[in-house]
Every structure is written in C-alpha cells, then in structure tokens.
C-alpha cells in the first residue's frame, strides 16, 4: 500500500489523558486481547485501531483504555497471544512509564489444551499449564502432561 495518508490514519486512534495504551498487538488477536482483559465488560472509555500499518509487524492493532491501569499478573496473560505487546502508561497526556509483557511461568485458564482427549476438554475443569519454553511458547498441561505449542494455542471461550 502506497497510501500517502497512512500517517494520518494512526492519528485516528485518538490520544487519552489518563490510562493505558497497549500497542503492537498482532492484528488477528485484537479481539482475543479484549476478551482476555475483559475489556468487553468494562465501562471505561476504550478506543482501538485494527490493521494499522506497522514497520515491525506488517499490521498491528492498538487499544487505548481510559482511566485503567493493569496489574502485571493481569496484563501478562496477553503475552500468550501478543508476545511483543508494549504498554504505555499515560498520565496527563504524557507517557510516564513503558512496559513490555512477560510470559508467566504458569498459565491458569485462558488457553485450551490442544489434546482432545484431555480431561479439561471433556469436563468443566479449568486448564493449568507449566510454561516449559517462552519463545517459542510451549505449555505443558498439568493434567494430561501433553505439550501445547505456540501454533496450537487456542483461547478458551469462557476464560477463567
């Protein structure tokens, strides 16, 4: 795309005065990030942009949440599907802190075990994995002991 107005497109995701900007989300995972962070249930003002041009990623998505600041444990949940996500903490229109997401050592819920015969896919059991490799991701199921690899990761419909 040789669109001369692409810079202007970025500006369409308007600035916020206070809150958190989550940048560098893979385009295809925008709505999964929204769901994991339960942003679909929040009353905060949210703006987001999808399929924005990105020099690093080709395209990316961005979410801006007003008056919302995340705990590290919560935000790290998105590391599974947005490993390169960057957080900008905004106070009075200024970036006061930058954070990167960290893959946790344990993943409880969120991800489905890829093994169709695993008990977690057959009874109402919450999933639980030990992270045996962070890049590329490899999650070992506490129950069936099988490994779910990065390209097999599917987000559970009702994560929790």
């Amino acid at each position: 795309m040789k669109d001369p107005i692409k810079k202007k497109l970025k500006l369409k995701v308007s600035a916020i005065s206070e809150g958190t900007v989550i940048d560098h989300i893979p385009s295809e995972n925008l709505f999964k990030v929204i769901s994991i962070l339960k942003l679909d249930k929040t009353k905060n003002m949210i703006t987001f942009g999808a399929n924005l041009d990105s020099e690093k990623m080709g395209t990316k998505s961005i979410i801006k949440i007003s008056h919302k600041f995340f705990e590290d444990d919560d935000i790290n949940k998105i590391a599974l599907i947005a490993p390169n996500a960057k957080l900008n903490i905004i106070r009075d229109y200024e970036v006061v802190e930058k954070k990167v997401v960290q893959v946790p050592d344990e993943v409880i819920g969120i991800v489905k075990c890829f093994n169709p015969k695993c008990i977690t896919n057959n009874e109402p059991v919450n999933t639980s994995f030990r992270v045996i490799s962070k890049s590329p991701l490899a999650l070992k199921c506490k129950y069936c002991e099988k490994i779910t690899y990065e390209n097999q990761i599917v987000i559970r419909k009702s994560s929790e």
Binding site: K142, C144, E145, K146
Partner: protein, 302 residues
C-alpha cells in the same frame, strides 16, 4: 499430606527403590492383613480385566474390602454424572481410590478432588505408573539392579505409554543405554530423545528388528496396533516385521529377559514362550506384589 500415585515421575528414585524392596517382601509373604477394616474403591470407567484383577487380588491379599465398578455402564456415569461428583462421593466412602479412566489427565484431576489418596490405574494414553513399577520390579528381579542396563524397546514406541514411563524411570538410574526399534510411523517421540540427550544418556534408533538384540539385557516388546496407522497399507507392511521369534534369541546374553506389558497379539511368536528368556507371564505375576507394595506405601502401612 496424602500420597497419590498419578504419574511415574511423582516418585523419587528413593521411592522406586522402596517399592522394589516392599514388593520383594510381599512376594515372600503375600498375605498380610494390613488393610483389615479398610475399604478400597476400584473405579474402572473403562474395562481392563488384567489390571483390575491384579489390583483386586493385591487388595484382597492385604485383607481389604473392595467397592466399585468394572466399567462405566454399571456406574452413575450413564446417568450423566461428572467425574468430579463421582470422586467427591466415593472419597467419602473409601480409604483409597484406584482409578482407570479413558480421559488423559483424569487421574490428576481426581486426586485434586479426592480427600483420600488416588492410585492411577491408567488414564487414557497418558500414564500407567503401576505398570512401570512392576516392569521395574521384573527388571530388578532378573538383572539384580536398575543400573548399567542395555534396554531394547520394540514396536509401538510412539503411543506406547509403558515405553515412555519406563524410559523416564530407568533414566533416574546409573548409565543406561536405550535401543529403539520401531517402524517409521511409530518412532519414539522427539521429546523423549531430547530428555535423554539432556541427561547425557546414550540411545540408538533402528528400523529393522534383526540380531542386533545380542547386546540386550532387557528386550521390552509392545504391540503394534492397527488403529495407530493412518494408512492401512503401512500397517500391513510392518505388522510382520516386528515379531520376536525363538531363532533370534540364539546369540543373546544369558541374563537377557523378554518383557511385554501384555496382552500380546502376534509380536512374540508362541515358540518363544518355552525359552527361559521369556519373562512376560512372571512379569504379570509380579504385578500383584508390586501393587501390594504401592498400596502399603500410599497408605503408610509399612
């Protein structure tokens, strides 16, 4: 804290050795009324006659009472009860649960719910730790040690859970060597090879089952199952290749013994049965003593 046995790696090397020691004690004296007044639930959500009879014999020889079912058709599962509710209920009645279930990870889940210890008698293709412990006891009995063994594993090394668990357990001992003999489609999974390499354990892979077993201390045979093959032609090609015949034993070591978790189909020719190196029926017998040992250890009765 209650002591469950869900996965073979739940036990330390010290516990493996303790089970071996106790199994020998029970073999010398199988009838010990250590479970007098105790109730053991034997929950078989899928049929497994061999494993169930072995456990129930062990419980009976220890003087315990057995409640339970031998397949899910005769349990409340047919009414739609979840595993969660079955285990909650049974753990109110029994002092110990022995469970076989077709779903992988079901045993770990049951142990989380149950207030009494759970022994996994097989959770789908995942774990079957009591089989591994009886395999180890059979090895100790025939080889006097779990150190310095050259173990040949033959057949379905991809899906064979007994193969994987035995490999992991024996890797805790000194200086093992593994030889894997399997068709292309049923080779040992990469994760186990990585595990062996990380531990600096030697292993060799072979496609053909020939006289290479002359170096073996243990030949561990498994069944090549038709349903494991995506292409039935592939099965037809290999089904008669991984068969152990008596003539192949001529140049093997005198201490060598043949193990098989049973049931076998055609992978060990019946003419091998008369050979003194055939050990698979004694191996099954060792299962009762090993399970007595595991129960005694789990309930701190010894």
């Amino acid at each position: 804290m209650k002591k469950d046995l869900i996965s073979i790696m739940d036990y330390t090397k010290g516990e493996y050795l303790r089970i071996m020691e106790l199994a020998a004690e029970f073999e010398a004296n199988p009838n010990q009324k250590l479970l007098e007044g105790k109730v053991v639930a034997s929950l078989f959500f899928e049929p497994s006659t061999r494993t169930r009879l072995s456990f129930e014999t062990a419980i009976s020889r220890l003087g315990g009472r057995i409640i339970g079912f031998s397949d899910s058709n005769s349990s409340s599962v047919t009414k739609g009860e979840t595993l969660h509710d079955t285990i909650r209920m049974v753990s109110n009645y029994a002092d110990l649960i022995v469970m076989r279930h077709p779903m992988e990870g079901s045993a770990r889940y049951a142990a989380e719910i149950s207030g009494v210890p759970v022994i996994n008698a097989g959770d789908g293709a995942n774990q079957h730790p009591t089989q591994t412990l009886l395999d180890m006891y059979s090895i100790v009995k025939t080889q006097k040690s779990l150190d310095n063994l050259n173990i040949f594993m033959v057949g379905d090394l991809k899906y064979g859970r007994t193969v994987h668990s035995l490999l992991m357990a024996v890797s805790q001992f000194q200086n093992p060597i593994f030889n894997f003999i399997a068709p292309e489609e049923l080779q040992i999974p990469e994760e186990y090879k990585i595990y062996l390499r990380e531990k600096g354990i030697r292993y060799f892979e072979h496609l053909e089952f020939t006289d290479i077993i002359s170096a073996a201390d243990i030949v561990y045979m498994t069944r090549v199952q038709k349903e494991r093959f995506s292409d039935p032609i592939e099965y037809e090609k290999v089904k008669n290749v991984y068969i152990l015949k008596n003539t192949m034993l001529a140049n093997t070591k005198s201490n060598m013994r043949i193990l098989h978790p049973l049931p076998r189909v055609n992978e060990i020719h019946p003419d091998v049965d008369r050979n003194e190196k055939a050990y698979y029926f004694e191996q099954a017998r060792n299962g009762v003593f090993t399970r007595e040992a595991i129960i005694a250890h789990t309930l701190n009765l010894k």
